[in-house]
Amino acid sequence: MAIRVLIVDDSGFFRRRLTEIFNADPMIEVVDAAVDGKDAIAKAQTCRPDVITMDIEMPVMNGIDATREIMKVRPVPIIMFSSLTHEGAKATLDALEAGATDFLPKRFDDISNDKAEARHILCSRVKSLAQPARFARTPPPTRPVSTTAASRPGGVTTPPLRQSISPATPKAVTPAAVIKTHRAFNPSEYDLVAIGTSTGGPVALQDVLTQLPATFSLPLLLVQHMPAKFTEAFAARLNQLCKIEVREAKDNDELKPGLALLAPGGMQMRLEKRAGRMRVKITEETDPMQNYKPCVDVTFESVNSSVGKRALGIILTGMGADGREGCNTLKNSGATIWAQDETTSTIYGMPQAVANIAEQILPLKEIGKKLATNT
């Protein structure tokens, strides 16, 4: 059965373009289009779409308020269309917090230079979001709205989403039931915590980091797949919400306890240890093999070179399998890996890819809680 999509945009031009693109895919069917937020809320009820694409700027009611309302009444994966600007980033993060699942640049050229490729990504994103059974018609009452409403930032420079629908791990991995040890977290065993995430990450990271006390004794490195410009706004937002300090990493920033450095979008962040001091190197790389900017693998491998087994690597929700290589390297050095569990992941791709080597597979809420104890 085709995936039912509701398009929400005040521009008829965009509605028609999106309809054309989606209807060209036999797997997707545009069931209706709404012209503003109010209309969207009404049509989300009547059309029962599997996925909604949502514009942010609209008359009558904007996309953020509409998203909040729809998620309250009838949760459904919502993809926001954002402008890749600072303002756009703020609005998008608001939308993600309101419950949107993912976002894509409104300018399709920003998705990919190749038009056909951009269309393909658009469609596959819709398909992969429609897949998870997380959006059951009635959400499990136990699940707080904020986690239901996780999100996946549109990695602007990330074409490889095709494989992301199914878990990218070649060797299928044991399910989340295999929670290994419930060993307590002991900060003295580690020099730092590195967290990698993608789709759903902004909300998940927020959940984890807001639980940490100001006295958290380890430095953190955060890698969230996100386009340039977005990470700055995202870091600022986290900093506002968290007790620990969060900021977008700049080249040569030194790691400090209780400071979380977020890898800047469009760049790569590497850890360097010299004379006992740990600093980050931020580089703009054009290696076509790097699918993600920032890339979890790149950061995690540098973490391995610097601190080896004294690292705690955490993989949160995300599409694809970025982080698998980095975590494997870390694991081989004796480091600890945690992964978010399937139930609370917006997309159980990246966590699944490391589930087989993870010491602990945890629900989202538990991750922050666990880190917060003993510190």
């Binding site: 965009f14 399709f108 050229d109």
Partner: protein
């Protein structure tokens, strides 16, 4: 990137963006009235945002850039992080103009030209929270003492901006000085430094003159440049109206090269260089195109392109102005689709025309059947024909409705027109619009656009007084121009009203005599209303100088002609000191014409019903010959009377329609009444106008022909043309 006009996606974008841009110019003007209106700020923001989105989709980068920065400005505004200032509005409006120019370029298949980086830079300043203004756009109020200018003279260069505008007064003073005596101009306030050098400006002027067939290089550059010395090497940023004034000088006063020369130097003498802003440049191009050869000639295009290069200083080398930077004509969308509803389909207007024609045919057949029915007693047929009649009428209405567009299409451009005008001539004017939703035929909407623009400009330029004058008369400083549209039966009534000075019938009479349009005696006989209508006569313009504003080459007579061509009528009333009201009456549609069928000898003719005032039986005793002209008395008023038979029938046939009996049809033409005698009146009939074939070209007296209810052919009389051709004088 090549633009493919065949591309459906592009067309789709053009339709939507066209509507948004049209809306935006309205909203921006509204915004000046209510700068705090959050909804409006949001709407403007979204407007730019949506256009940007579409342009982005099509990779129309220059458009994206310009929309983007405008959007940013409004984002700051809507977040309350900055307040609307007049400088900001100017910039944003220029930004919109720029986007509209690109839009027009895209429409004609040209790659859009990037917006002036200068403008973008200014907008950028406005897009950051705060209350700072870009230095360049600083208010024109500040006029620094001349001494300090000397020190500052070099600063603007380095800052890449010109600090101030010349104030109007200063510029007027400057021009006055120039007119009377060149040397006095040294006293003219010298203002502000900026970008292009005098040489460049002269080159520019040379260019204009080359095209304008005026003289060559102005003389007296040397003496005129004295102010530059005494005024201590300044330069100035001149604004629209000043530039307009300058051009008026050049074109209006200066038929001879020397006079023009002086005026030219007048401008440049204020300083050694000038920065020409977009608007000014537009005005310049308008001038060139309006006056001269038109924009199509290669030469003009060349000069247009070459100028920006000269006009833009080294500081902004990339600021080449777009070639197609002609006037900021509001963009016309390709089709009347509404952005909101998906329930509409786009239909080629030609197809609608075809359908309308077919409906017209159907109407004719119905007419024929109705006539036949009268001769038949058969009940069922009568019933069927009555049904057909109803269905046809409904069909006709529905088809007509598909062609309807709200008059808003035309009205929408007026807020901007009035705003720009009132700013440039320093009047305070409020525009009120009513009945914007009134629908009328698409063709009519388009045909009315130019005449209406002219009339509104006229009301602003000639009607409303300057604020000070108004205050003296005890009126509010702000004048009101109101535009209204209403539907009255099968007509649309448009009124353009101003609360300005009104017209003095005496002045008009005198003028008419002075201009040799009529003799004194005739003029004296005119009543007030007839006097007002004098302004519609060819060659009549009361303002001494033809201003750029209302005098764009078309006079009121042209307006009149256009309205008449639309089977409409035009009327004016005025009260001295109180204001004027112009009333335009046009039919709802051009496709079907209500007519009065008349019989003349063996022939049937159709008179457009719009012209017909009344019909009565001819009574010979009420007619008199005055001054060689047969007149008939209609309620104590003498109306000239003509026998149509004398004009339209061959001498032999005239015998049949004898003198002295028949019907008098009073028609109104150019607000004058004329009686026409015909043998008999058949009745009212709606007809479809069929053009006369190629064989019958050159018969201005007839607007076309039609098929009558009884299957015959009737010629449709074009009353004004008929009178013009046959009656001796005054028409």
């Amino acid at each position: 990137m090549a633009i493919d006009l065949e591309d459906e996606i592009l067309q789709d974008f053009l339709v939507e963006a066209g509507e948004i841009l049209e809306l935006l110019s309205e909203q921006l003007v509204d915004l000046e009235q209510s700068p705090e209106d959050a909804d409006l700020l949001n709407a403007v923001f979204r407007g730019f945002h949506t256009v940007k989105g579409g342009a982005g989709f099509l990779a129309l980068d220059p458009m994206v850039d310009c929309c983007h920065v405008c959007e940013d400005v409004f984002n700051v505004l809507r977040n309350g992080e900055r307040a609307v200032s007049s400088g900001l509005m100017d910039c944003v409006l220029q930004g919109l103009d720029s986007v509209q120019n690109m839009f027009a370029e895209i429409q004609s298949g040209i790659d859009p030209t990037p917006a002036d980086p200068d403008l973008l830079a200014k907008l950028k300043v406005y897009s950051v929270p705060g209350d700072n203004e870009p230095e360049d756009a600083a208010s024109s109020a500040a006029s620094e003492p001349v001494e300090s200018v000397a020190e500052e003279a070099s600063i603007p260069e380095s800052q890449e901006v010109a600090p101030r505008d010349a104030t109007d007064d200063e510029f007027d003073a400057l021009l006055d000085a120039m007119d009377s005596e060149t040397s006095e101009s040294s006293e003219a306030p010298a203002i502000d430094g900026d970008e292009i050098t005098e040489d460049e400006f002269e080159a520019l002027l040379d260019n204009i003159h080359g095209k304008g067939k005026h003289g060559g290089k102005p003389e007296g550059t040397e003496e005129d440049s004295t102010p530059a010395e005494t005024g201590q090497a300044d330069s100035e940023l001149i604004s629209d109206d000043e530039f307009d004034a300058l051009l008026d000088q050049m074109h209006g006063k200066g038929k001879g090269p020397t006079a023009t020369g002086k005026a030219d130097v007048a401008a440049s003498s204020g300083g050694d260089s000038e920065l020409i802003s977009d608007d000014e440049f537009d005005a310049l191009l308008d001038q060139m195109h309006g006056k001269g050869k038109g924009p199509t000639t290669g030469a003009d295009e060349d000069s247009a392109t070459s100028k920006p290069a000269a006009a833009k200083p080294a500081a902004q080398p990339t600021a080449a102005k777009p070639v197609a930077q002609t006037k900021p004509a509001p963009a016309k969308p390709a089709a009347p689709a509404k952005p909101a509803a998906e329930t509409s389909v786009r239909v080629d207007t030609e197809r609608l025309d075809d359908i309308m024609n077919l409906v017209g045919e159907l109407v004719l057949v119905r007419n024929r059947l109705q006539t036949l029915r009268l001769n038949m007693a058969e009940g069922q047929i009568t019933q069927a024909i009555t049904n057909l009649d109803m269905v046809t009428a409904d069909l006709q209405t529905s088809v007509m409705k598909t062609r309807m567009q709200p008059i808003k299409k035309v009205f929408g451009r007026f807020p901007r027109v009035v705003r720009d005008l009132s700013r440039s001539i320093n009047k305070q004017i409020k525009l009120e619009m009513m009945g914007e939703e009134t629908d009328l035929d698409k063709n009519l909407v388009e045909a009315l656009a130019d005449p209406l623009v002219h009339l509104v400009r006229n009301a602003v330029d000639h009607g409303i007084e300057l604020p000070d004058d108004r205050e003296k008369k005890g009126k509010p400083r702000e004048g009101i121009v109101s535009l209204a549209a209403t539907q009255e039966g099968d007509h649309i009534l448009l009124t353009i009203e101003d609360d300005g000075a009104g017209m003095d019938p005496e002045v008009l009479r005198r003028k008419a005599v002075e201009k040799g349009l009529m003799d004194e005696e005739t003029a004296a006989r005119l009543d007030n209303k007839e006097c007002f209508n004098l302004i519609f006569m060819a060659g009549f313009s009361t303002k001494e100088e033809i201003s750029d504003i209302s005098g764009r080459g078309v006079g009121m007579d042209v307006v009149k002609t256009r309205i008449t061509q639309l089977n409409g009528s035009l009327d004016i009333d005025s009260e001295l000191g109180k204001g004027s009201v112009l009333t335009i009456k046009v039919p709802l549609t051009l496709a079907i014409l209500p007519t009065l069928m008349i019989a003349l000898g063996d022939y049937t003719y159709a008179l457009p019903l719009a012209n017909v005032n009344e019909i009565f039986e001819l009574e010979t005793r009420k007619t008199n010959v005055v001054d060689g002209q047969l007149m008939v008395m209609v309620r104590d008023k003498a109306v000239p009377l003509f026998y149509l038979s004398k004009w339209l029938l061959k001498p032999g046939e005239q015998a049949a329609s004898g003198d002295g009996k028949g019907q008098v049809i009073i028609v109104s033409v150019a607000n004058r009444l004329v009686g026409m005698v015909t043998d008999s009146v058949i009745g009212q009939e709606e007809v479809v106008i069929k053009p006369l074939g190629a064989m019958l070209q050159g018969l201005p007296e007839f607007a076309g022909s039609t098929i009558t209810g009884d299957g015959g052919i009737a010629l449709i009389i074009d009353v004004p043309s008929l009178l013009k051709a046959r009656a001796n004088k005054g028409f």
